[in-house]
Symmetry: C2
Subunit: 340 residues, 2 copies
Amino acid sequence: MATIEDVARLAGLSRTTVSRVINDQPYVTEEKKEKIIEAMEQLGYVPNSSARRLRSQRTETIAVLLPRVTNPFFGHLIEAMELKASEYGYQVIVCQTHDKKQKELDYLQLLKTKQVDGVVMTSLANQWKAIEPYLESGPVVLCNEYMETEQVSMVHIDHRQAAYDATVHLIEQGCNRIAYSTGSQETHITDQRKQGFLQALNDYKLVFPKELEINGALDVKDGQQVFSFLQQQAQRVDGIFTGSDEVAAGIIYAASESGWKIPEDLAVIGFDNQMISLLMAPAITTIQQPVDEMAKKTIEILVGKIKSEEYRLEKQYVYNYELLKRKSTERLNIKESAST
Amino acid sequence: MATIEDVARLAGLSRTTVSRVINDQPYVTEEKKEKIIEAMEQLGYVPNSSARRLRSQRTETIAVLLPRVTNPFFGHLIEAMELKASEYGYQVIVCQTHDKKQKELDYLQLLKTKQVDGVVMTSLANQWKAIEPYLESGPVVLCNEYMETEQVSMVHIDHRQAAYDATVHLIEQGCNRIAYSTGSQETHITDQRKQGFLQALNDYKLVFPKELEINGALDVKDGQQVFSFLQQQAQRVDGIFTGSDEVAAGIIYAASESGWKIPEDLAVIGFDNQMISLLMAPAITTIQQPVDEMAKKTIEILVGKIKSEEYRLEKQYVYNYELLKRKSTERLNIKESAST
DNA sequence: TTGTAGGCGTTATCAC
DNA sequence: GTGATAACGCCTACAA
């Protein structure tokens, strides 16, 4: 592998001059510049990035932590982030935590060992206290998951309000025995959503029977199980708030196999407006987040922090979401629209 | 940031000894070892990975090239690859080519600049001739996409045979005017599938009207367009082979909106057994690839090549696929099973 | 068992 | 304009 030294020797010049050419610096005569470029080509020279990293203390790499790529929401996030990062000349390392505390910490270690210049966290498996020590090793930005009380930049929607709106929608569609299904417990998002959900019930004088709370539902399979759980309830459930379109899809799939009518027997609401929510029959009412913008903003902030030490202010960016009303919850409008 | 030097000084020992402790090497007294560990903790010392990389000429990082993460097939691949790679202690850089030649080459450049120890390519945007020069910079393994004629390790299924089987299935279900939809043109996979498709038609004495070949269909939206194209045909099409479940889903979605009956009016076959293929109504007949195993094997081979120069033999691993027959093509068995 | 010293490939500093 | 030289932080002969 040719080094800068080899190029210098072949061109009959010094390493310094070669380095200047590589980095497009001034003070090199056109003539020598050409000679050097020719030498580089002849040797197939390419600058060694490890050496550059060591010298510059920069890696041009960021880590994106997420539970798993095949969760469509996170897939979209990392897709958009990688795209934006590559515009800035940054590489992206995928770090799938699978919601494991240890894996999350292992990946944060990349920041300490200077393998990456910064980290994006889209989910949190650990308590914030466990994360905090890593912040001094380099910039960290939260996207999706958030912690209002802490000193860190965040990009997200208002999950509390979103869940509130979704629940109100269910209630307005005539549901009065509503189940609540959530993904991982103990995260701030989950917490916020639940608050919104309960608030809505409360505002409409409905009670929430504790046995209708289901935890740990993340994908289609889980959704199917959620349905059989609902099916077993002595007192009929007529609506469910799920934290994910996949879970909602699983419920609808299982429900239709069991002969339940959606939304007449059960109104179902998802989250994230994944493709699946549109394709299911009936199409799933859901919350749309501006994923691309959130991803881009996150990378922007992170790169800003990496490039300038002064970019120190921790900011919170709250994006708008949209409640997309579709067939899976359309219980009342059927009649109403029939009269128009 | 503390360095090995700082630790050595604090512990009153040499860099060498500290290095030995870091790397778990023998010949250090328990006593000094403890002293060093204590010093490391006190300083919050963490070895600098850039320096290690430069010294060891190893990055413990691999690049995975793919069109885009949100294509579920590739999402699954990279998910499984990252998992396996992390077992081996390797980081994974996501490299989304978006099927662009230049991006693909840019990412291959990571191999030249020694930013990664090896590369996995799951798709090919460039001609092989353009890729070949990069092979001398480090190991490359193909997964999914392949080039039988070339000297490189590959992991894949037999797409020619798979397409053949799928097409025969359509024919056996009574289709005789079958359309063919493919993703990116000019790749070997596309080529192979088309061969299989044509062979099947030929074996059953059917002709393929050239106007029924559709190129560049990749996702649900494209599928919807494919359907409107089919709808416009003067002579009714009664079956379609698509290279993707997403396209198939898009077709079915659009078809049912237009009042077509699937599979009676049109039999649709997908590819990859994505979740969506099971959830659609009707469920989509598809080809299942052993994605996890293929991904794991790919990483195994790549890491093997990285670790040992002798791991030089280029091998071709051909995995078995499975044709999953579902409702979207069930035109004949309806009657048959009715009689049982 | 421990330490010295050189070098991995680059770039920044400073002198010429 | 150009070049010698010293770092960046680590590892590893080799010497002691």
